[in-house]
């Protein structure tokens, strides 16, 4: 609640330099997205397919980024859970690989991470972390013929404020994932009637 001017910030920064060591750090993202408040269509069964890169995505910064934020980000299965959570609120998910009860799919949905980008306070010369996700989602019928192709984005930002740098970064990523889920839900809600029509 207290505003600090640059002089106070400099004192705190100077103190923190004595306390923090250098070196690459590992950030583990594990976030829970709420189930969307939407109507479920029990007549459509969907099989989700994820790009291999997305399933256990570990982001390693490039040489240029390492100077600004030497952080390796491990997403584990957070992204997979996000898409399963959203799509399972709209459709019946086909988990036949897991429970050995094969179903007849109406749809196949192919999810691919297209871009993950961020700006640190050092890069943007401000006091916040900004994070973007962009996913390519292909909607295919049971015969794997394309029905639609969606580009879903998510954006999150978090001011550094009282947070340690990595905590603010982690929060910005979680906000961006939550925003992705929100945008995907709205898109699916808008398209659900067309999807139903296209599969008969």
């Amino acid at each position: 609640m207290v505003r600090m001017n640059s002089a106070v910030k400099k004192i705190i920064l100077l103190q923190s330099l004595f306390l923090i060591g250098c070196g690459a750090q590992n950030l583990v993202i594990d976030t829970i997205i709420p189930s969307p408040l939407v109507a479920k269509n029990e007549n459509i069964t969907v099989r989700l397919m994820f790009d291999e890169k997305l399933q256990n995505f570990i982001f390693t910064p490039e040489e240029l980024q390492k100077k600004e934020a030497p952080v390796q980000i491990s997403f584990s299965d957070t992204q997979v859970k996000l898409f399963q959570n959203i799509f399972s609120s709209f459709f019946v998910l086909d988990n036949s690989d897991k429970d050995d009860t094969p179903r007849t799919n109406n749809l196949n949905i192919n999810v691919k991470l297209d871009k993950f980008e961020y700006l640190t306070p050092q890069m943007a010369a401000n006091q916040k972390y900004s994070v973007w996700f962009k996913y390519n989602i292909q909607i295919l019928n049971a015969n794997n013929q394309p029905i639609d192709n969606w580009m879903i984005t998510g954006y999150g930002e978090q001011e550094t404020g009282a947070f340690q740098d990595n905590e603010a970064f982690s929060r910005a990523i979680q906000i961006a994932l939550r925003d992705t889920g929100a945008n995907l839900s709205i898109k699916t809600q808008d398209e659900i009637v067309n999807i139903g029509n296209s599969i008969g």
Partner: protein, 217 residues
Amino acid sequence: MITSSKKSIFFLIFLIVGCSTTRVDEEINTAFTISGDESIVLLSNSYHTGNQTEIDFMECVNSSISKKQNAFEILPTRQFQNLFYPWFEPSTAPQTVEDLPNVLSNDLIKNKLSEMKIKYLIKITGQTKTNASSGALSCAAGPGGGGCFGFAWWDDTSDYTASIWDLSQETAVGNVTANVTGTSMIPAIIIPIPILARTQSNACEGLSNQIVSFFSG
């Protein structure tokens, strides 16, 4: 005696706060009522539209309103957003009262609002900004000790508006504003003594008092 005097001085240093000026305003558009089992919820406008209302300010107003009254319920913002996900997220929530019908035309949302007796949505906009700063403060440390010397000051303005929307009527019933300005300073002769104008917490106090008074009639 000496120890107790030192403690008192040390304690007093923490009580020194800078001066600030608070101005609160209220505007009522239409008649409204709220009963004990009905709820309100606070939501800030999205950063997607350039709004920068701080999370800690929202938490402060939420907690301050629930402590100050028991005439109605207040549903915490995050809980509300989780229950109504994805319809009140920063990128999807209605930004103006004209956007309300788009969201409320969804029966699932309307029924859940009615079931949970959420009657008013209060949209908060605004932020705390530093307008001007000046002075210099330098600190040094060596083997024999360390200290600071100098004087720094800055002006903060906390300006917030709460727009109160009736979710059943889909109209704005009124606005409450709080504007607080203050000057903070840090004189330092060996030890820096921060004298801070707590404009944001004063704005939180002013805005929540005014919202409570708004609903008290």
